[in-house]
Amino acid sequence: MIDWIADPLSDPILRRAALEIVLLGVTGGLLGCWIVFYELAYGAESLAHALFPGLVAAALLGLPLLLGGAAGILAAALAVAIAGRVPGVGRDSAVAVVVTTLLGAGALLALSQSTPPGLGELLFGDVLGVSDGDLALAGGLALAVVVALRLLHGRLLAVGFDRSSARALGASPALADAALAILLAAAILVAVQGLGNLLVVSILVGPAATARLLADRMPAMMAVAVAVAVVAGLGGLLASYHADTAAGASIALATVALWALAWLARALRVRRPALPSSAT
């Protein structure tokens, strides 16, 4: 067992990948708890997919991926806003149409014959290829998310609890939404390079959804979500090393497996008679 873990980690490439996954796990686990309660999972997935043509364009032009991704997110947000205003098109449909169009356009570019090989990695990620710059970026993001969520905690909690009376308590729903949207966009931009366009959502939603089954207080839920993200991330990475499978996909499957275990544990616990409460 020790060898199973230690062997791969003697490889510097794996060590860097592990560090990247831990940093993204902290970010995704913490942010995910709010994504779950603000019902932003669909939005997160859409953002991740919609920035794809931006990534491909940047890769083709030799620009930094971060720049292309940021431009892609802005273009997608604009397109959704415009499509949502077309009479008779609901907001959800507008998002779906825009995202499908953009993902399709990106895939067309990335997979065409004349495109240099390797762009497929943008879809599925290449956590084994992270650079020092990527690690620094992921570290900065994790730090920013920890600080921002700590400062905003009370307000996010009040708005998520009851949007209609939050303003009377001194918490602006618009501000909470905006702060979350910015953090989410930043997290997707950074994480998409390690985990790929299609799998980035697994680290933003999966761990928090798992933690929600196990914890009944927000701070505990955040701790569990970070633990789940890190365990699933490292477990998936090691499994991919030994089984010679794709790292990003292995991590996503490990995350889902942990969710299924948590669901099962909860179902068994609920079926048993309630334990006497110690809170009285």
């Binding site: 309660f37 700590r150 400062l151 905690h153 009370g154 307000r155 909690l157 009040a158 998520g160 609890f161 009851d162 209609s164 009376s165 303003r167 009377a168 308590l169 001194g170 918490a171 929600r212 914890a215 009944d216 207080r217 927000m218 505990a220 839920m221 409460s277 809170a279 009285t280």
Partner: protein, 279 residues
Amino acid sequence: MSVVAIEAQAPPPAGQSAPTLARACGVSGGYGGEPAIEGLDFALPAGARVGLLGPNGGGKTTLFRALLGELPALSGELEVHARCGVVPQTERSRLDYPVSALDVALMGTLSVLPWWRRPGRAQRRAAHAALERVGLGPQARRTFGELSGGQRQRVLIARALVQDARLLLLDEPFAGLDEPSSALLEGLLAELAAEGRGLLISTHEVDQARRWDLVLCLNRAQVAFGAPADVLSREVLERTYGAHVVELPGGGRGVMPAHHGCDEHEPGHEHAGPDHVHP
């Protein structure tokens, strides 16, 4: 209309009449276009329980928003001299949310603390004290969504106490409560009024409002304001509900809504269902 908020006001010397917490003079307000409420003329004194009666869509929520300074107003003058605390219906909040009763009470510290500060020991003490005050000291660590409807309502009152609100705006606090929970809540509201707080309580129970100090009848415009004995005539009730008041067998009275599913809208949703008066 201008909203004048004067937060800190020294308590009045003993022996004087109760200070006014909020006063409206010819206020109308709305969201652009037709005013949602008009003709508001009232003064809410400290230490009074004021029943707010009116049909769904009659402007009760709009009045709350006006008192909170959230409503673009059209004319008149509304003065609010006290910090307002909102006690919403508990169904508005997420019951699957990972918070304890104490966490919810602590939300009342948001408006008191600077934005970068988290609640410290003093705030936690205040939140515990407020939960004790509403009779929920032992339930402080329980998950909010697992409490009974009446207990959740009292947690939200505790939250307003943590805010140090002198004027409490309660949105149908008795809706859906069973008899013992109602009695507990009724007793708590009487105590809070005796402490010198003002309570504006929207309700559909006319007979309950008769036991309080004042009533404000609202049907898109103010119909009446005053002591229940002076104000709650059959004619006022009919104008308030736009309906006929019928005597029920057994001595109770019921209000027959004149029109259902009508075109009365207002942002925020109020309960659907018939207005009724218990015997």
